[in-house]
Symmetry: C2
Subunit: 339 residues, 2 copies
């Protein structure tokens, strides 16, 4: 089947992806400009550039037409900070503390109890599901439009405990450059997050130039119903889908309907997405962001319940996945570092 | 929140959307060329053109920025022929007849029994669900890639009983012009089908210039598993989601994450999608394709189990939905009519 070519042109907000001191290349992959100025020179940066050249040069044996150029990015820990806790967890815990007096029964019920006690080990034992259970219960009865406003308001006000900046400032500049670089080379990019799709959509367009339909995430049961004479969508308490681990390939197929050729993750929750992406024949890219920089960001892997990285790291060499070592490979971490 | 502008440029295959004798306008909504040459002059055509002008002219009080320009299209009966049975039903019944000797237990079990007996009344009593149950059972164990090939092969060979053409030739030229016209005016277009997303994706790119991620549809449970040492996605028998009736707004929110401002349907299965789209404040377009042309296509509404149209038609005037009367409004029906 011949598939058409789509060229996506991003507007003025694409400039937001650049640091003041660096531009991220133009639409030509053979540009003399450095498309990844926040990456240190070395094998990791070169592997990313080689991959893009290999799949986009028409004379390459690994050439992929534009409709096959799908790249998927995990969010927490891959595109922005996830320590000491996921932003969405901070969002949920703040609301939980607020409404707890109305729900005394939650004090002895999991996962509420673990959340109240900040027992992350218990809370995250089953990955992203418990966080979605919390968010489902806390925002049941809102419409998606209302939820979007509440999330956006919280994100505009909340401050990260260590960096004392808004979460949306704590995005990784090197990864924003990768997203812009891939898009400039004809890729469609999607965020594939274990977090709630509606939470991430509340900031993804402004922060990553990713419109809502390019965000795939966990979901809460939503129904279209008439209430008070007005038909609308309403959120229910129950979890519909957990977009994590083996759920990520499922979410990708359901949403995109095509197997990606490049995947970026940082934890065991991304293992199956990496396997799915690089498991097919052809030139494929799998990359794991490794948090090795306690001074500028955080250093953690298998010891951390947040962003637990163990099995995916063990599988990296046999699968040919690249490790982006934050301390070694990233010249700057955050956009404001370059200013 | 300021949202970025995205311009989508469609490639050479956009030409496929035009008849040989007519071009569908260019990127300027004020073009002197007729963007809808297959539509007869009249109130319906004018209402579509007025809507597009109203939401795209910067000096219009109803101006909508590009990121808000989302248009959704039902498929069966709105973009292509659905009589005497949905193409996907034809696809399933052919496979069912083939494998029935291996599944004698299906002869007395619904919905298989109704399908075997071509009892569409029973089969479609609960809308699209039974058809998905059939397709789920028939293709359990295949990967999405395998299913895509099987569907594409079937579509390349199957012939419509009355028109003796492939189903993909039996698309409505006037609606293809609407899709192209909306895209040329900065709209993102999505197909929102009660049919299986993976079935419709097998032809949507070639037929409608709609890549897989712009197709939202019913879904079968799919899991990422290792079988024979190979990890991949596999289809299971059970229905995951029915994208019909109140399911359509749910599918739209889950997939697009934004409320559309224009919706096109033809049956009661599109009622809630129309309500959701036009229920918000601002300039909105709801359009119902009415099958009134027994000579050139079919004439049916509330008497037909396929494409049953009753409640949506009753709600049209109070909701301001436009009726596209096929006999009156469409100069040609199929692309080959214009040749």
């Amino acid at each position: 089947m011949s598939r058409h070519r789509t060229t996506r042109q991003r507007g003025s907000s694409a400039n937001m992806l650049m640091t003041a001191s660096a531009s991220a290349g133009d639409d030509h992959s053979d540009s003399a400009q450095d498309p990844l100025p926040s990456w240190n020179e070395g094998a990791t940066k070169q592997a990313i550039i080689d991959f893009v050249a290999d799949v986009t040069r028409e004379d390459s044996p690994h050439f992929e037409p534009r409709d096959r150029r799908i790249a998927v990015f995990d969010n927490d820990g891959t595109l922005w900070v996830e320590q000491p806790m996921y932003a969405q967890m901070d969002f949920a815990l703040e609301e939980l503390r607020k409404v707890l007096p109305l729900h005394p029964e939650w004090r002895d019920r999991q996962p509420f109890k673990a959340a109240i006690e900040a027992d992350f080990e218990t809370l995250l034992k089953e990955g992203a599901r418990n966080l979605q259970i919390l968010v489902g219960a806390l925002y049941a009865g809102t419409t998606p439009d209302q939820f979007d406003r509440l999330a956006a308001e919280w994100l505009a006000a909340a401050v990260h405990p260590r960096f004392e900046r808004r979460y949306t400032e704590l995005v990784y500049q090197p990864m924003r450059e990768v997203m812009a670089y891939f898009r400039a080379n004809g890729f469609k990019t999607f965020i594939v997050t274990g977090g709630g799709a509606e939470f991430v959509r509340a900031f993804a367009e402004q922060t990553y130039d990713a419109p809502p339909e390019e965000v795939i995430g966990s979901g809460i049961i939503t129904r279209f119903e008439s209430r008070d004479g007005r038909a609308d969508l309403y959120r229910f308490a129950d979890v519909d889908f957990v977009d994590e681990g083996p759920g990520k390939p499922v979410g990708i197929e359901s949403h995109i309907g095509r197997r990606p050729i490049a995947a970026f993750g940082n934890s065991d929750g991304d293992l199956e997405m990496l396997e799915y992406t690089t498991g097919a024949s052809g030139r494929r890219l799998g990359l794991i962001v490794r948090h090795t920089d306690a001074a500028r960001e955080y250093a953690y892997d298998k010891g951390s319940p947040v962003g637990h990285l163990e099995r995916a790291l063990e599988g990296a060499s046999s699968n040919g996945w690249i490790i982006a070592d934050m301390r070694r490979d990233w010249r700057v971490i955050f956009p404001f570092d370059g200013a």
